[in-house]
Symmetry: C2
DNA sequence: CGGTTTCTGGACTTGCAGGTCCATTTTTGC
DNA sequence: GCAAAAATGGACCTGCAAGTCCAGAAACCG
């Protein structure tokens, strides 16, 4: 019963989400008014509330989900194939490239702080994103352990957790300082550290 | 000429900042109205605009500065004395303890995303905080290098940048997931990694 | 086709939070 | 103690952005 959308309606809905996402990325969550979304997507207020009966709340939630999915998609196919050191470096390069291009515009930053508190659902979206992200990294590490490229005694989950945190912090620092250095340092040092434990099995 | 504050006035101003900070920590930036601050600090609207002629903007800026300073103060005296491994671990424990207690309430998270964009000054405050923080860590690493406890060939700045990023990300993940695991993993693994390079000078 | 549903546009309402103003009280400095 | 300056309280104004409503156009389905 959640379905009562014409083909045209579905297109409009998608256009609204995409447009709102772009607007938010560009100017920040709290700077975007529904009017801006309307103007930017060529829609009317009636449409907005037709597709998002919960108003801004619901729209932001949809945008958050959209952006969260995009974050992971942008890392493919590298993220799901961390099966060799060149693959790891390719992933590293993709991340750097992506966030360098993105610059100060983070779609989820504001959503975490702002929507995160009011909408309980937004919290879930971010948590889900982080969980999926970390899972992919963990699998990458496990694979490298299976091929003997990483110390098998290493706690893959813990290492992935640390790496994920480093990435998040690196992006955060990119947002506040405008420099990519932190993200680079995290990725390079962490990958180096993973490689270091390969041959030297001595503990 | 910036000075025209009575002793009483200064106290009131401080009370407003502290109260607003508490309120923001508790409920998030965008959920706090000036009225809330008034109620919570026992002040009137006239006072608010008397001490902060720029209105909410100026108040948030003052709060941000206050909180930024607090973040570093909370880590003292450990942060400025990272001169032995026990000292590093004490710092680690302090961080864990502090953020565990703080839980989901981050004073600067919202300020980064929200005020960060509108107030150009807020950006500077956050950047300044990060810079001071990283500098302290760098000095700690350098000291350990001088005593031979850390590989002297290590790029201390880069390592500090990575660690800082990890901490920020760990806190971010604490905010979104409610779990301290990421922060713990970052601190433990990074410190372990620093120790690992001590004796083995072979590259 | 024709009835029904969905889609669209935009005028209107509403509430509220930031900001203004000034009259009164307190503090200060001489 | 007394003028001047700062501190305080709170009524008032204002703009704006979310949300409501409904009437007309377009799309769907038999």
């Amino acid at each position: 019963m959640t379905r009562a959308l014409t083909r045209k309606g579905e297109a409009t809905r998608a256009r609204i989400v995409a447009g709102a996402a772009a607007e938010i990325r560009e100017r920040g969550v709290d700077e975007v008014r529904l009017e801006d979304v309307m103007a930017h997507t060529g829609t009317s207020k009636g449409q907005l509330f037709h597709y998002f009966p919960d108003g801004k709340e619901g729209l932001l939630l949809a945008v958050a989900q959209h952006e969260a999915d995009q974050v992971l998609l942008d890392q493919e196919p590298m993220l799901s194939n961390l099966t060799s050191w060149p693959a790891w470096l390719a992933w590293r390069d993709r991340l750097i490239e992506r966030y360098l291009a993105q610059g100060v515009k983070c779609p989820l930053n504001g959503l975490l702080g702002q929507t995160g508190r009011r909408a309980p659902g937004a919290q879930a979206i971010v948590t889900g994103l982080m969980w999926r992200w970390q899972k992919a990294i963990t699998e990458g590490i496990r694979h490298m352990q299976s091929t003997g490229d990483v110390d098998p005694d290493l706690d893959a989950d813990r290492a992935a957790a640390a790496l994920l945190a480093g990435i998040q912090g690196g992006v955060l620092l990119l947002l506040s300082t405008g420099k990519i250095d932190h993200l680079e340092a995290v990725l390079d040092l962490t990958i180096d550290s993973l490689r270091a434990g390969a041959r030297t099995g001595g503990s």
